[in-house]
C-alpha cells in the first residue's frame, strides 16, 4: 500500500453514518483499482468522522471496507458547528496530508469543503457527477455547470489534498470486501475564538407543504388517462416518497376537476417546469403540455397508447395503464 491517502468524510447524523459515505467509499474503491494500475500500489482509504458515534455506527465504519477510520472527537464537537468542524478536520489534514478528500455535497459537505480549501490553500470542485484518473494519473473531477447543461473537467494539479464534493445518489453503493479498519483517534486543539462565533441553537425537522411545481425537483404529473377522481390520489402518495416533489396536472385533468389547483397545471398556459425527474401518467403529449416539460432532466412517461406523442420526448417509455403501473410503483416504493 502506498502512502497516499484518500479521505472520505463520513457524515455523522446524530450518531449514525449518512448513506452518502458508502457511495463515496464505493467510488473511492473503484478509483483505487485504477490507481493501483498506475502506481503499483493502492492508496489507503480513510474514513473521517467528527463527533461521537454510536457503537453500531462506528462498527459499520470499521467494517465498511476502508483501511483507516479517523475519529475526531472533542467535547466541542458534540454539536455541529461548521467553524469548529472545519478547523478540526483541517488540523487532521495538516498532520496526515491526504491526497484526495471526498465530501458528499450535502448541506454539511458543501460548507466544510470550501472552508477546508482556504485553510489548506488547495482547490475544491463542487457537486461532481463523476471522478476518475486519466492514464497520466491526473485526478479528473467532472462538475456540472449551467444547470447541468454543460459538464466541465476540473483538475487540481499542484496542491493537495484534491478536494471534491459529490452529489449524493450519483454513485451506487457497492458492498466492499469486509475488513477491519484501524481506528485512529484524533483530538484537535481548538481555541475559544473558533468556538463561540457560531452556536447551533436548535434543529427544526421539517414538515413540508407541497411545493409549487416550478420549484419541484420531482414532479408526478397526471393527465386525462388517470381516468377518475379516486385514481388521482396515487399521484400524491407517490410524490411523498421524493424530496422537493410536487404533483402536476394537464389542462384536461383540471377540466375534469380531478384537481382544483390550477397553479399546478403544466404547459403553455400553465407552468414551465425543470425538475430532475418528471413522471407523466396518462398524458398523451399535446404540444401545449410538452412545451412546459422540455427542460426536465429526466422524463418518464406512462401511457396506454404506444404511439402517444409524449413518448417522443421521453427518456423512459412505459406502455400500459397509468393507474396499474403507478400502483405497482407505489408498492415497490414502500419497500425502500
Amino acid at each position: 500500500m502506498s502512502n497516499r491517502k484518500i479521505f472520505i468524510y463520513a457524515e455523522n447524523d446524530c450518531g449514525a453514518i449518512e448513506n452518502s459515505y458508502f457511495e463515496l467509499l464505493s467510488k473511492a474503491a473503484a478509483l483505487n483499482v485504477k490507481l493501483t494500475e498506475l502506481e503499483g500500489a493502492p492508496a489507503q482509504l480513510c474514513a473521517v468522522t467528527v463527533g461521537e458515534l454510536g457503537e453500531d455506527s462506528l462498527n459499520s465504519l470499521v467494517e465498511s471496507g476502508t483501511d483507516v477510520v479517523y475519529s475526531i472527537t472533542d467535547e466541542s464537537l458534540t454539536v455541529y458547528n461548521p467553524a469548529v468542524y472545519s478547523e478540526a478536520v483541517a488540523q487532521l489534514c495538516k498532520l496526515e496530508e491526504p491526497y484526495i478528500f471526498l465530501f458528499a455535497s450535502t448541506a454539511m459537505g458543501t460548507e466544510l469543503a470550501p472552508s477546508l480549501g482556504v485553510k489548506l490553500h488547495t482547490g475544491v470542485s463542487a457537486h461532481c457527477v463523476d471522478l476518475r484518473f486519466d492514464d497520466s494519473g491526473a485526478f479528473i473531477q467532472d462538475v456540472p455547470a449551467f444547470g447541468g447543461k454543460v459538464i466541465g473537467e476540473i483538475l487540481t494539479p499542484d496542491t493537495l489534498p484534491q478536494i471534491a464534493t459529490v452529489k449524493p445518489g450519483i454513485f451506487q453503493c457497492e458492498c466492499l470486501a469486509a475488513k477491519s479498519a484501524e481506528v485512529k483517534k484524533f483530538s484537535p486543539s481548538l481555541d475559544s475564538t473558533v468556538l463561540d462565533g457560531i452556536v447551533l441553537k436548535d434543529v427544526h425537522v421539517k414538515d413540508r407543504d407541497s411545493l409549487p411545481v416550478e420549484q419541484a425537483e420531482t414532479i408526478i404529473c397526471g393527465g386525462f388517462g388517470m381516468g377518475c377522481d379516486e385514481n388521482w390520489e396515487v399521484l400524491d402518495r407517490i410524490a411523498n416518497y421524493f424530496e422537493n416533489s410536487a404533483v402536476g396536472c394537464t389542462r384536461p385533468a383540471l377540466d375534469e376537476d380531478w384537481t382544483d389547483d390550477d397553479g399546478t397545471m403544466i404547459g403553455t398556459s400553465g407552468k414551465t417546469v425543470r425538475p430532475k425527474l418528471y413522471i407523466g401518467a396518462g398524458i398523451s403529449g399535446a404540444m401545449h403540455h410538452v412545451c412546459g416539460i422540455s427542460d426536465a432532466e429526466f422524463i418518464v412517461s406512462i401511457n396506454k397508447d404506444e404511439n402517444a406523442d409524449i413518448f417522443n420526448v421521453s427518456d423512459i417509455k412505459i406502455v400500459g395503464d397509468a393507474v396499474k403501473i403507478l400502483t405497482a410503483f407505489e408498492e415497490r416504493l414502500v419497500q425502500e
Binding site: 460548507e111 463542487a126 455547470a145 447543461k149 462565533g197 420531482t218 400524491d236 422524463i299 405497482a328
Partner: protein
C-alpha cells in the same frame, strides 16, 4: 449596520438550454443569452435592504466582473443599495472560487479601510452558472469572519446594531437554527425572500450613487493568488452530457417495470425516501 453584498452577473438561467459547445473550438457558446444579476444574489441584496430598513447603515455592492458588469451593478443600485464597487481587471480573469474569494476579500478590505468596516457580508449562496456555493465560506474564512451558507431566514431582533444574528440554515431534513456573531459572512438561498421590484425612481437615482472601480493595481494583491495563476483548480475539457431522449421502453409486468423504474430513478441521482414521509 454596514453591509457588503457580493453580486455576480450570470447568463440568464432560464436560457441555459440555448448554451452550446462549439464542436470545433470546444468553447462555450452562450451568444444570445442575456446576462442577469445572479438570482440568489438579488435575494442577498433584498435581505440587506431589509436589515438596513431596520438598523440603518449603508449597503455596498461588490462585483468581480468584466467592465460591462457596471450595468448589472446599476440594476442593484436601482433596487436601493447605496454604493457599488466593480472589481475588474484582465489579471483577475480565469479565477476559480479560491482566487475569486481572495480578490473579493481584497476589495472588501480596501473599502473597509477607506470608510467604515463591515458588520455583515451577504451573498447569494451560489451562482446559477457555476453553482459551487464556495464563495460565502471562502470569503468568510479569508476575512476571518464567522460564516454560514444556505441561509433561508435571518432574524434580527431588538433595536440598534446587533452583536449577533439568528439565522436558519437549510439542511437535508429541515433547518439548523444558529446564532452567529458579527462580523459575519452569510450565503442566502432564494428561499429567503422575494426581491423587491426596481422602481422608476430607483433607476433615476442609481447613476448618482457612488461607484468605484478597483483594478489590480488598486488592490495590490498577492499576484500568486489571483486569476488563473492563483487558482489551484484548472479547467479541463468541457462537454455536453447526452440529453437526447432515448424513449427507452421498459416492459414486463407492472411489478417488473416498477422495479426497473426505481433503479433508473436512483441512477439519475434522485433520492427515494423510505416511508414516503417527505410531504404532509
Amino acid at each position: 449596520m454596514n453591509i457588503g453584498v457580493l453580486v455576480k452577473p450570470v447568463p440568464d438561467p432560464e436560457q441555459y438550454n440555448s448554451i452550446t459547445i462549439d464542436p470545433e473550438t470546444k468553447r462555450l457558446n452562450r451568444s444570445g443569452v442575456p446576462t442577469i444579476v445572479n438570482p440568489s444574489d438579488k435575494c442577498a441584496v433584498e435581505a440587506a435592504l431589509k436589515l438596513k430598513e431596520k438598523f440603518g447603515g449603508k449597503i455596498v455592492i461588490f462585483t468581480m466582473a468584466p467592465p460591462d458588469g457596471r450595468e448589472k451593478l446599476m440594476e442593484v443600485l436601482a433596487m436601493g443599495a447605496d454604493e457599488a464597487v466593480l472589481v475588474s481587471d484582465r489579471e483577475f480573469g480565469g479565477a476559480d472560487t479560491l482566487a475569486t474569494s481572495y480578490t473579493l476579500v481584497k476589495a472588501v478590505e480596501k473599502k473597509s479601510a477607506e470608510s467604515e468596516s463591515f458588520d455583515l457580508i451577504l451573498s447569494g449562496n451560489e451562482s446559477a452558472d457555476g453553482a459551487t456555493g464556495h464563495v460565502p465560506a471562502q470569503v468568510g474564512e479569508m476575512l476571518g469572519f464567522n460564516h454560514l451558507s444556505a441561509i433561508v431566514q435571518i432574524v434580527a431582533e431588538g433595536e440598534g446594531r446587533p452583536d449577533s444574528l439568528t439565522v436558519f440554515q437549510k439542511i437535508e431534513n429541515g433547518k439548523n437554527e444558529f446564532e452567529i456573531k458579527l462580523p459575519a459572512v452569510i450565503g442566502v438561498t432564494r428561499d429567503i425572500n422575494k426581491p423587491r421590484y426596481t422602481s422608476a425612481m430607483g433607476v433615476i437615482k442609481a447613476k448618482k450613487k457612488p461607484f468605484d472601480t478597483y483594478d489590480c493595481e488598486a488592490l495590490s494583491p498577492d499576484k500568486s493568488r489571483i486569476g488563473i495563476e492563483g487558482s489551484p483548480t484548472k479547467a479541463g475539457a468541457i462537454f455536453t452530457p447526452d440529453t437526447g431522449r432515448k424513449s427507452e421502453e421498459l416492459s414486463g409486468s407492472p411489478e417488473e417495470i416498477a422495479e426497473e423504474l426505481v433503479k433508473r430513478i436512483k441512477a439519475i441521482g434522485v433520492t427515494i425516501n423510505s416511508g414516503g414521509g417527505c410531504r404532509e
